[in-house]
């Protein structure tokens, strides 16, 4: 092949199966991931609504729910094992199949190649495989609901030995827990395949002129996220293999000697429960950034686009993204301050943890800097980006409490950390996903979403999540412990019941608001206004091609990139934005106001 000809990517598929099911087109795979996440997020949401129901009215009988869940609601009242199963599955589904899948597998797959001017991922077949393994993984996870004993009750962190001992330790810890581990192991494999594909694509597939420092920040975050996934998921895979062997192979990696469970002596010897925590959190903390980093990229992209200004401090943003990602590998111990970790290492983990506040502050500062002096257009996507910044501040800053050893002691395992991580890696990341959806939907489906409905969705959701999670911090301070099926057993939690009811009410409103999104999404796909090539007057490469893009993304064009990713408001340009492929501008008088 010659250098000038565009490489003929795999030819466009003709059969339905190759086009929509076993497709190697990164755009189809991205949409497949997105729909998978959509199914997962509404499942996870439903589980959280059920949990909120029990927390607010623990003794209340719900006969109609008994009809749907005859086992979990025996006699109309939700059993504590059902509550814990909901809790485990809510966490697992949300963390793995929503927060890891939608931003990276969904939008990353769809837009990373387009934004760097590539025709597909470096390894399209691998990409397809990665999706189908994820799909299988989700199937196995959902199967855990239906096996004897039900879903596991050990939480999404599956702390050993509770998760290692089997049914003797509680319901759901038999085959339900096995399926959980197998599902997670499959998910690890799928993520690894995806990650090495993303990294190779970014390094090797950029079009002419797309230097690293001209890449959109979204690409930087997907790239960094892929590195995190590549290095952290194998450790979780290792932990999963060890745990499965403990359960099925009779080994004792996590089960110490001399355990007596319900008066039954366990014949294992000498394993270490702390080992599970180390391995799990070595994965688990980078996972937090895997969930939130793409959201940061999307927020940057959206704020710049709709403030009609270049991103403030592009280089600092890139450095901050990398710093957050890399520091994320050295702070896992802050999840273990009260685990019996050596007090010295706790000190080191604590200081490193607070150090992450520095790049996070830079990012916040630069987002504000991007708004400063702008001409803000309030699209729904922009509202969600602004909401992201607000939630990122609210959710991130409370990490200053939890990162300190002595403050964490009292707050550990209360609702305070629950509020903290829901705010930051849950809701803020979801706002990133919503922002991305409203922004890129026209490109992905060729039609616009309804802006009015979208804005209503934003207002209700933004108010709702704040109403849920800000009071939850206070509940944590008052001592409400997490993973409690009810808070009626303890006197110090008695004053908390009104708060539980308030939060449940707020959760219902928020959950209902998501139906607006669903309606908008389905309506948009079939009835939405036809989208133009570049409805937002944006600069990055996805906006120079048709909506939706042709099979090879750019219709055979070979692109040359001349400009940075966020050239808005350029003084000498004919329009207020300069697309990355626009010809170079004769710069006469403009000076950089910075």
């Amino acid at each position: 092949m010659s250098d000038s000809a565009h490489p003929a990517v795999h030819p466009a598929p003709t059969t339905f199966i190759r086009k929509w099911v076993f497709s190697t087109d990164h755009k189809i795979i991205g949409i497949q991931y997105y729909f998978l996440a959509l199914v997962a997020v509404f499942t996870g949401l439903a589980l959280s609504v059920l949990m909120r129901l029990r927390l607010a009215w623990p003794a209340e009988s719900w006969p109609w729910l008994e009809k749907i869940f005859p086992v979990g609601f025996e006699g109309g009242v939700m059993s504590p094992e059902f509550y814990l199963a909901m809790l485990t599955m809510h966490g697992t589904i949300m963390v793995f199949f929503v927060l890891t899948t939608a931003p990276q597998g969904g939008f990353g797959n769809y837009f990373l190649p387009i934004q760097i001017g590539a025709h597909d991922m470096a390894f399209p077949v691998l990409n397809m495989l990665s999706f189908w393994v994820t799909f299988l993984s989700m199937g196995v996870m959902f199967a855990a609901f239906f096996v004897a004993g039900g879903a596991p009750i050990s939480g999404w962190t599956a702390y050993a030995p509770l998760s290692a001992l089997g049914e003797v330790a509680g319901p759901g810890l038999g085959s339900g827990q096995d399926l959980w581990i197998i599902s997670i192991a499959l998910f690890c494999v799928a993520s690894l395949l995806g990650a090495l594909n993303f990294i190779t694509t970014v390094l090797n597939m950029r079009t002419k002129g797309m230097s690293l420092m001209k890449m959109p920040l979204t690409v930087w975050t997907w790239f960094t996220t892929a590195i995190l996934a590549l290095l952290s998921f194998p450790v979780l895979l290792a932990a999963g293999i060890l745990l499965l062997l403990d359960r099925l192979g009779g080994t004792s990696f996590f089960i110490p000697a001399g355990l007596v469970v319900s008066d039954t002596v366990i014949e294992n010897s000498g394993g270490s429960p702390i080992l599970w925590q180390h391995l799990f959190w070595f994965f688990g903390h980078p996972e937090v950034y895997i969930a939130i980093l793409p959201g940061m990229g999307v927020a940057s992209q959206l704020l710049s686009t709709f403030a009609r200004k270049p991103i403030f401090g592009y280089h600092a943003m890139v450095v901050a993204i990398f710093a957050i990602g890399m520091l994320g590998f050295f702070v896992w111990g802050h999840h273990m301050f009260v685990s019996g970790l050596s007090p010295f290492s706790a000190l080191v983990f604590s200081i490193l943890t607070l150090a992450i506040g520095v790049p996070s502050a830079i990012k916040t500062f630069n987002w504000l800097g991007t708004l400063w002096g702008g001409k803000i257009r309030f699209t729904t996507a922009m509202l969600f980006a602004i909401g992201f910044v607000s939630l990122f501040v609210s959710g991130g800053i409370t990490g200053l409490f939890l990162g300190q050893t002595s403050v964490d002691v009292q707050l550990h395992d209360t609702y305070f950390p629950v509020a903290h991580f829901h705010m930051i890696m849950g809701v803020a990341a979801i706002f990133g996903i919503f922002g991305a959806t409203y922004y890129w939907f026209p490109k992905m489906f060729g039609r616009m979403l309804h802006e009015g409905l979208g804005k209503l969705h934003f207002w209700l959701t933004f108010i709702g999540v704040n109403a849920i999670f800000i009071p939850m911090h206070l509940m944590g301070i008052m001592g409400q412990l997490r993973r409690y099926a009810e808070s009626t057993e303890f006197k110090f939690m008695e004053p908390l019941q009104p708060y539980q009811e308030f939060v449940t009410f707020a959760a219902f409103v928020t959950a209902a608001a998501q139906l607006l999104f669903l309606v908008n999404f389905v309506w948009g796909m079939f009835k939405g206004k036809k989208a133009t090539e570049n409805p937002w007057e944006a600069t990055t490469l996805e906006w120079i091609t048709a909506s939706p893009p042709p099979h090879d993304n750019f219709g055979g064009r070979e692109l040359v990139v001349n400009h940075g990713a966020y050239e808005y408001g350029v003084p000498d340009a004919p329009r207020d934005y300069v697309m990355q492929t626009d010809p170079p501008i004769a710069r006469t008088s403009h000076r950089d106001a910075g």
């Binding site: 490489p7 077949v125 691998l126 190779t200 990696f253 270490s272 080992l275």
Partner: protein
């Protein structure tokens, strides 16, 4: 030259990170036409190593992290587990080690051989050695089981089975890739592997070889 870059076929032999590009095209390894590795920044500057090789190195980084996870568990267990009884290395593992080292050598000879017949010969020998190693491992496990040393025995034997087992699963992927390349070469003279596909397989194979040495040191010489 093939007219187009074939879709990088990927064979998931083991359900792990192993992957082998199957149709890199003859002579497509180095130079300016290596697969979909493309150009950036004007001037025809190549932006990095060939995509397949890069992908392989990334896969190996990932596999390394998994074994680092296992190793940290091993070292922690060795330090804290009261039930730890070190088992002696079954002598046959050293024979296996020699077989594996020899297979790396023959693979390297295949890679450097000029004539197609020689490439095919060395490749075939590599396949045989790889298979012999796996068979040898099965035999070692059987031998240990006969002596009453099981996976669930004491922590050290658990780790022996675990580490050699996970290694064997990875090696099985490598053998499958080698067999595939070799069989293809015998069937069609035009498809004697060279360049990318062979290079990438060789990187993987040598890495598995090095990993084996590391595991033996960890299991039987560490401390």
């Amino acid at each position: 030259m093939p007219v187009a870059i074939a879709p990088p076929e990927v064979k998931p032999q083991t359900g792990r990170e192993d992957r082998v590009p199957a149709s890199g095209g003859p002579g497509g390894g180095s130079g300016s036409d290596g697969g979909p590795g493309r150009r950036g920044d004007g001037g025809g500057r190549r932006l990095g190593p060939d995509s397949y090789q890069l992908g392989m190195w990334l896969a190996l980084a990932s596999i390394s992290m998994m074994f680092i996870g296992f190793s940290s568990a091993y070292i922690l267990g060795q330090g804290t587990n009261s039930q730890w009884r070190a088992m002696a290395a079954p002598p046959y593992v050293w024979v296996n080690t020699v077989i594996l080292l020899a297979s790396s050598l023959t693979l390297e000879l295949a890679r450097r051989a000029g004539a197609a017949t020689e490439v095919k010969r060395w490749m075939t020998l590599t396949c045989v050695l790889g298979a012999a190693f796996l068979a040898g491992q099965l035999w070692v496990w059987g031998l240990l089981a006969d002596q009453g040393i099981y996976l669930s025995g004491n922590p050290h034997s658990s780790f022996f089975y675990l580490l050699t087992g996970v290694h064997a699963v990875h090696l099985l992927g490598g053998v499958a890739a080698l067999v595939y390349l070799t069989a293809r070469a015998w069937i069609s003279a035009a498809r004697v592997p060279a360049g990318t596909s062979l290079n990438v397989t060789a990187i993987y194979w040598h890495f598995m070889d090095g990993l084996w040495i590391y595991l033996m040191v960890l299991l039987f010489f560490w401390r």
